[in-house]
């Protein structure tokens, strides 16, 4: 691992490069060096630590590049230290990574004089040939890149060329946009004391740093790389080594689920042991359930409706809390209103529950937060026991909400005698398997990350599902749009042909839930509809990779009614990695807050 720095601007190049090298020292420091470019190119480099390197203050230098090295090709010596130059000494290059075909390139460069044993040194000589043939530095770098094999990041200067040219191929490179010039670094630490406005280069990018701006090209096309502000104070400490809270929370789900179901499964009786204080006779008599919730909790409510209507034989409606109105036609004494809210403070949901109470209905809260406002306003509370969630994008709380509601549905079903002990055992067995099923999805993260990488640049993402997978499709789309800012929609699988199919193109991947719990054959027909329009299809299925019209299959453990819930975890990871590829501020998406306490 090596570190690269660069600077162009009105500041003092020598000292800025030196401080950048010092900051990158952790990337290796068996030798270091800089090239300062003014009327001529002056290279100062030597073996040893950065502190041992003296860089004279060259006031006429307008820009420069620096390097701190950890040897891969060639010993740490003065000659092998970067920057490397061509035969004329007009071109200087620093490089991080490995050029795997440098031996072959070196042979092709007969006549050039090499001073080091490094793979890097072929680059300035290749540039020299291109520039001699009439190319400018940027064009020369672009052409030379075509001949280099390996993974690397590099930066180059030429005495007669205004600015620095840098390129990235599989090794990191970041640009800092300062008030007094532009900075280049292997990572943000190189220049974070000068500026926090950064843009991240992507693989294949060639960028030209001017004193006041950058231009970026990829595959010959001019491209824009978003300028972001890095929040360096964000307490990385709380993330236990994860890059984001969201990633940490995704990985906490197996344990959170074990907590959530602990002591709540009575497999001998085939019943859920829930501490429900509501009167049994009331629960036996209810003929309607209203679920009110917002956002992710609303999707958990939709999932619960599927379970409640099937298992409890009671009419269930799910309302967005902000839209919930109690109109005529309800027997309010025989209606249970269930409010689902992670925080217990969601203003829309609190307001809905107050309207329900005012009309005489009995209320139950399903929440994660002991002592929250809603627990004081409702008749009874069922806690989801997921533990604290910090990432704005709800992950483990969604899974825990659905799990708690599935246990509630089992409990109600046993109470109302619509679920037999035998059926109860089989539902609870699925609940019991949930933590391990989620873990097996997490174990496949590498594959999901590669899929996300493949489709990051898509125009839009569509999620389709049927039955309990429909709310999960909505939830998966919400997750992706929240954190990646990309266009994503969830549709009921059968609804696609009634309109949304018009949006489907070959650049809009469709993620389809082929859950066994709701007519997978019919969903498969919907998949064929999109496949014939050329859209890439990612299937989530228990049957393995046998579907020929799926471009990719993510295998989901077969755990009955809860299968879509496990599939949701795969798509949490998908959304996370799409957003991560795009360098989004995943834990703090723009314009969003964790719990919304205004209506």
């Amino acid at each position: 691992m090596c570190g690269i720095t660069g600077y162009i601007g009105v500041g003092e190049s020598a000292s800025i490069l030196a401080s950048g090298l010092k900051n990158l020292e952790y990337r290796g420091y068996d030798s270091a060096g800089v090239a300062l470019v003014g009327d001529q190119v002056n290279v100062h480099k030597q073996e040893g630590t950065i502190d041992g390197l003296t860089i004279p203050n060259e006031t006429d230098a307008t820009h420069g590049i620096g390097h701190t090295r950890w040897s891969t090709h060639g010993e740490p010596t003065d000659e092998n230290a970067h920057p490397h130059t061509d035969c004329s000494g007009d071109i200087a290059v620093v490089h991080n990574g490995i050029i795997s075909n440098y031996n072959e390139l070196k042979r092709q460069l007969g006549g050039h004089i090499f001073e080091s044993e490094t793979d890097t040194e072929v680059i300035p000589h290749l540039l020299e040939e291109e520039i001699a043939a009439g190319a400018d530095l940027r064009a020369a770098v672009t052409r030379v890149l075509d001949r280099l094999e390996g993974s690397f990041a590099l930066a180059a200067t030429h005495v007669d060329y205004e600015g620095i040219v840098a390129a990235r191929q599989d090794s990191p490179l970041v640009i800092g946009h300062g008030d007094d010039g532009m900075y280049l670094g292997s990572d943000v630490t190189a220049f974070v004391e000068y500026t926090r406005k950064v843009s991240y280069l992507e693989d294949g990018d060639v960028t030209h740093l001017h004193a006041d701006d950058i231009t970026v090209f990829n595959d010959g096309e001019r491209v824009e790389r978003e300028v972001q502000t890095v929040d360096w104070d964000a307490a990385a400490a709380g993330k236990a080594g994860h890059d984001h809270y969201m990633h940490k929370e995704i990985h906490e789900q197996p344990n959170a689920l074990r907590q959530a179901i602990s002591g709540r499964i009575d497999e001998l009786a085939g019943n859920a042991s829930l501490d429900i204080a509501l009167d049994d006779r009331f629960l036996q008599a209810i003929d309607e359930i209203h679920i009110v919730a917002c956002g992710t909790s609303y999707h958990a409510g939709l999932y619960a409706k599927e379970l409640l209507e099937e298992l409890v034989d009671v009419s269930t409606r799910v309302d967005l809390a902000s839209e919930y109105e109690v109109r005529n036609g309800h027997d309010t004494r025989r209606t249970l209103v269930v409010a689902v809210t992670q925080s217990g403070e969601t203003a829309d949901t609190l307001s809905a529950i107050r309207r329900a109470k005012a009309s005489g209905m009995t209320t139950l809260a399903v929440t994660n937060t002991v002592g929250s406002t809603i627990t004081r306003e409702v008749d009874d509370t069922l806690f989801i026991k997921a533990g604290p969630e910090i990432g704005v994008a709800a992950t483990k709380t969604f899974v825990s909400q659905v799990t708690a509601l599935a246990l509630f549905a089992t409990y109600l079903g046993r109470l109302r005698e619509t679920v037999s002990a035998c059926e109860g055992v089989s539902i609870l067995e699925n609940v019991r398997q949930l933590p391990n099923a989620v873990q097996s999805i997490l174990d496949a993260e590498g594959r999901i990350r590669r899929l996300a990488k493949t489709y990051t640049d898509s125009d839009a993402f569509f999620f389709i599902g049927r039955g309990p997978a429909y709310p999960v499709a909505l939830e998966s789309a919400l997750k992706l749009k929240e954190i990646s800012y990309e266009h994503a929609e969830g549709f009921a699988a059968g609804e696609l042909k009634h309109g949304p199919l018009a949006l489907v193109t070959e650049n809009t991947p469709v993620l389809a839930f082929l859950n066994q719990s709701a007519s997978p054959e019919e969903t498969l027909n919907n998949v064929k509809e999109v496949e014939s329009r050329g859209a890439p299809v990612i299937c989530l299925s228990t049957s393995g990779g046998t579907e020929s019209f799926c471009d990719h299959t993510i295998e989901i453990p077969d755990i009955g009614r809860l299968e879509p819930l496990v599939a949701n975890v795969a798509l949490q990871l998908f959304a996370y990695h799409v957003a991560d590829q795009m360098n989004r501020p995943i834990d703090k998406p723009r314009n969003l807050a964790k719990s919304v306490t205004v209506e």
Partner: protein, 387 residues
């Protein structure tokens, strides 16, 4: 002083369990191996811990978080590819300023050893290395010592090369000069810490700290049983508060029953058994000398002996893992007469009446039809029919 624990390795000899989890997360006496190491470290008063993680690191991070539960501050450093213990330590350089204790993440030692290393390091301000005497040093790094100074280190010596029965335990105290020494080390492929130390001796003294206390190392599947038994022998049985044990079940001693697990009526859990979280032991099942990982179900009437069972698996009714001794071929090496009833991976679905012969290693995600007999190695993902 900080402690650096090297926990990035893949532990390939413990496959298939290490395909989905790092070696350090394998359970020893009801908690992960790494937790024992961390507790030994914190018992010496060190609360600044650096974990070098890599393979399946999320499992480690989810368990230890930032160390609050151990009154420690845990920092994570990632070694992306397994490139040896020297390289792993180098990854920790930017968070370790000054002296450090370094511990290989696959062995349990007592706090006393770490204290003695710290003492010796304070007194000499030079590198220190812990050694112990073993009968057969061929599997370890042997250390030649003259008057408490290390004069040579040899990795896995052949019989005729053995000049000492003293071996390197893999616990060290270093000053900051170790990092430069690692960078200078010539190496092909992996950069091992011992390669550095062998060269280091030429111009720096290394002090040997002799240790005769408990030292448990985990490298082959049956070690998981013996290491567990070693730890269980030193502690009382533990049944988690959240576990549900039927009044009609028998719990022997020593045993560990994890959180949220259920032991059904008539089940007999005899000695030397470690049961993980959310495990079900069915009615009339008999479990002896076994390690059962989380979320697994042992169905009614199954007999499980001398074996390790992965997570999320199902051992069918009346299935017999009878246990006993056998010869096991592992990594092209034949181990004879090992007491090892078998290893079953994660997410294995075994139907009723399966017979598992001693020494069998069943991969992950294997499905076994009822009435089958398993022996030798069953690769991951296989579907076994009754033949």
């Amino acid at each position: 002083m900080k402690a650096v624990i090297l926990a990035a390795g893949e532990g390939v000899r413990l496959a298939p369990l290490t395909a989905t989890r790092p070696k350090g997360m394998l359970p020893i006496g009801g908690k992960p191996l790494l937790e024992h190491i961390i507790e030994s470290v914190t018992a010496t008063g060190i609360d600044d811990i650096v974990l070098v993680v890599g393979h399946k690191r999320e499992r480690i991070q989810s368990h230890f978080q930032n160390g609050e539960d151990w009154d420690a501050e845990i920092q994570y450093v990632v070694q992306e590819n397994p490139r040896g213990t020297g390289d792993a330590l180098l990854e920790a350089e930017h968070v370790v300023s000054g002296d450090c204790i370094v511990i290989n993440g696959d062995r349990i030692v007592e706090p006393e050893l770490i204290e003695r290393l710290i003492e010796r390091h304070r007194a000499t301000n030079q590198a220190c290395l812990a050694i112990t005497e073993v009968e057969d040093p061929t599997q370890y790094g042997t250390v030649t010592v003259e008057v408490d100074r290390v004069t040579d280190i040899k990795e896995k010596p052949a019989e005729h090369e053995i000049r000492s029965n003293l071996v390197n335990i893999g616990v060290y105290a270093f000053g900051p000069d170790i990092f430069a020494a690692i960078r200078r080390t010539d190496h092909y492929g992996e950069l091992r810490l011992t390669d550095t130390l062998r060269e280091f001796i030429d111009d720096h003294p290394i002090h040997a700290v002799r240790y005769d206390g408990m030292w448990l190392e985990l490298s082959r599947p049956w070690d998981l049983l013996s290491v567990n038994n070693g730890i269980l022998a030193r502690s009382d049985s533990v049944v988690a508060d959240s576990a549900v044990v039927s009044e009609d079940a028998t719990l022997g001693d020593p045993v560990v029953v994890g959180e949220h697990s259920r032991i059904q009526p008539g089940a007999r859990v005899f000695r030397d058994v470690v049961i993980g979280d959310n495990v079900t032991v069915g009615a009339n099942a008999v479990v002896t000398n076994a390690v059962v990982l989380e979320d697994t179900v042992i169905k009614p009437g199954a007999v499980v002996t001398d074996c390790v069972i992965g997570a999320g698996s199902e051992i069918g009714s009346l299935t017999a893992i009878e246990g006993g001794h056998s010869d096991v071929l592992l990594d092209d090496e034949l181990y004879t007469d090992v007491r090892f009833g078998g290893l079953v991976g994660d997410n294995v679905e075994m139907s009723a009446n399966v017979t598992v012969e001693p020494g069998t290693i069943v991969g992950n995600d294997v499905r076994v039809e009822s009435g089958s007999t398993l022996a030798g190695h069953v690769p991951s993902g296989t579907h076994v029919f009754r033949g």
